[in-house]
Subunit: 233 residues, 4 copies
Amino acid sequence: MTIETKSRTDVELVQSVGDDDGIVHAARISLAHDRSVVEAKERKGLINYLMAHKHGTPFEHNSITFRVHAPLFEFREWMRHRVQSYNEQSGRYSKFEPVFYLPGSDRPLVNVGTSAKPVLAPAQRTVIKASQARMVESFHESWAAYEELLALGVAKEVARNVLPVAVYSTMYATTNLRGWLHFLGLRTSEENATFQGHPQWEIEQAALDIERELAKLFPDTLEAFNANGRVAP
Amino acid sequence: MTIETKSRTDVELVQSVGDDDGIVHAARISLAHDRSVVEAKERKGLINYLMAHKHGTPFEHNSITFRVHAPLFEFREWMRHRVQSYNEQSGRYSKFEPVFYLPGSDRPLVNVGTSAKPVLAPAQRTVIKASQARMVESFHESWAAYEELLALGVAKEVARNVLPVAVYSTMYATTNLRGWLHFLGLRTSEENATFQGHPQWEIEQAALDIERELAKLFPDTLEAFNANGRVAP
Amino acid sequence: MTIETKSRTDVELVQSVGDDDGIVHAARISLAHDRSVVEAKERKGLINYLMAHKHGTPFEHNSITFRVHAPLFEFREWMRHRVQSYNEQSGRYSKFEPVFYLPGSDRPLVNVGTSAKPVLAPAQRTVIKASQARMVESFHESWAAYEELLALGVAKEVARNVLPVAVYSTMYATTNLRGWLHFLGLRTSEENATFQGHPQWEIEQAALDIERELAKLFPDTLEAFNANGRVAP
Amino acid sequence: MTIETKSRTDVELVQSVGDDDGIVHAARISLAHDRSVVEAKERKGLINYLMAHKHGTPFEHNSITFRVHAPLFEFREWMRHRVQSYNEQSGRYSKFEPVFYLPGSDRPLVNVGTSAKPVLAPAQRTVIKASQARMVESFHESWAAYEELLALGVAKEVARNVLPVAVYSTMYATTNLRGWLHFLGLRTSEENATFQGHPQWEIEQAALDIERELAKLFPDTLEAFNANGRVAP
């Protein structure tokens, strides 16, 4: 029996609609001249103003969908964001793939902070090796149990009971730019942030991937987000 | 001083993303084969199944934005839909235009039901004429008061105090297809509906215009919506 | 025919559940010791920490309902808050009362800022008197039109067309403490606020009344809200 | 090393506010006579009317909080309900307890339907015994791996990687009655339901426990819910 390990989250842009100009149009409707031509300088200035003063609604008239391949523990964190729309692979209707999350060598492993406020630091090489080996052993065992339970005739929704939160799943996640900026504010820990998040490493990597995609689609907005302490409007 | 009257709501499609195929992709992720080719027959069947069983989330990975020109009393009803995103012309920052809603001759005027459950029927020609004249007279008077208050130096946000709910405003309204189907379910009163709405006439006309636009963008979904009692999933 | 004028919003606490201790319990569940006794000092410290770091969910396990009597223009602003639950008097099913909002002598009337960013200042006594008189005259006229339209047999939902946004209505508004803190952040303009709101005067008075009620129910939370720049968690 | 197994979800009412009378008050505000005395007969009639016509907002001015002890796979289903407020034990900040979900002998184990539409039926006694034994063995192994990883110095948030979705956690879950009725509609499969849910067995037991609590707090509403096809308003 073979299992696969993987050390990262895949985030793929599926579709989007809207751009920085659309934010300007939505904001300008308050002054009843939404349709006039948008100059680059005015756009940057207005978007910065909206961001600084937390005028959030103009950032909602758009939509960005990602397809995400991540372990279950990360989906558990992700789905706490209630303004996103989700559809995920079902462990009741389909068999899981034997793909498990294994922390890579760049993933800090040791808590050098407190229990309530962990600060993660790199582990020694021996700890990395030993912990990876122990995880892989456990994944093998859990997967064997899953397969055996299925072979006994146990339904998928019950057999999955033994699968660890390291197992991968796939989902579509959609929200508007305002929703994604809130996600970035909570799931990254950049130094220039007014309110610094304390995300788990794995979801932060995914959030940074999402940020790179958003910066291509809405460059002025992401610039204003960073210039204003990464506080979602 | 001239005022303008208008008897309808303008609904204009601004942008959209997503189609019936996208709904199939989002639904299929539960069975982990989202990306295979979508055949027309399977699409119709699956969308009908999702609608009939109220599986709503696959209808959320899309976005449709309308620009709406309507009187304030209609916006008051519309904005009770909390899953939509709104940006509206501001009566604090911009002067209203002298455009007022006047019921047209096709708008039923007389309540032949009860107070708690009104049923509106056409009025006699004399009542139509007399009520239209009385409204126009009142609009003129209110507009004159607004202009005089502004001339006195009173701020826009205070001067608007005298403007009637018949005055027009403009907004952008955005939500996903699931949100729009809920709007249709509550703001139309079609005979084939399982739960028949009792919308006011004006917002129902706007809802029907929106439905026509959605039927072009998501034809299989709107067909399934009508085939399943117009109950939003 | 008599009309009544009124210069303020009535906000009445209808019911509430939850207190500062409940916030501590909800927060402590993350450390799996939610039920131990809450000491005053720990409570203040933890609530301040949650507020400062924008951990918002522990502030959601409670509910506060207000009954609000306010003019329509204020309800239009209020109902943009989509996390609140609303039930309002219906102008379709019931006749309005002839009660109209008239700015009192303490209400700044003149814009000394710009159109896009108004700053309101007190008006001269003559402007106050003249504008009040002009408004009352217009209210009388609008109310007469409303009564005449009803007498013609026109349905309430159409006759209201002529009523100004100054007319009063009543609603119940409910949300949890997190929702109310967001409301306060946007609808007040206190000097100690990190993000200063620019609310209209009328809704700000109502927000301040609500804040006084909340301060009685959740004193440590309101103290922490003020100590942390009035940024809702 | 000892682990504990458990075959059910614990649902405990923490606090609530509101009752059937409150629903009547909120509904009656539309007719501007919310405060008059509520007679039992009128209350039953009005609540039934609201339910049958899907007038949902009067059911929102209340709040009910439960403390839930359930396995992770059940929390994953539960937290897809985006109108609820959640605070859960953190696997980053606290060590899990060695408590695992083991299907009891009353839990149907075998799928006699299709993959896409499972129908679960009781298993033979030998299958029950063999599957329970296999699960317990796997739980022991996973827990041993968790303990060893912690002993190696690996942080809790990484060590939990190996824990199965059968492990128990605790949360507070709060929403209003309308939200809980939606939960019941989707997470139970009663025969009298217009839209029959297909919930997993475990979350259905929890939903039925919640329904029993709600029936004590809001008896007329729950009666109307059942009399109207269990369709949330």
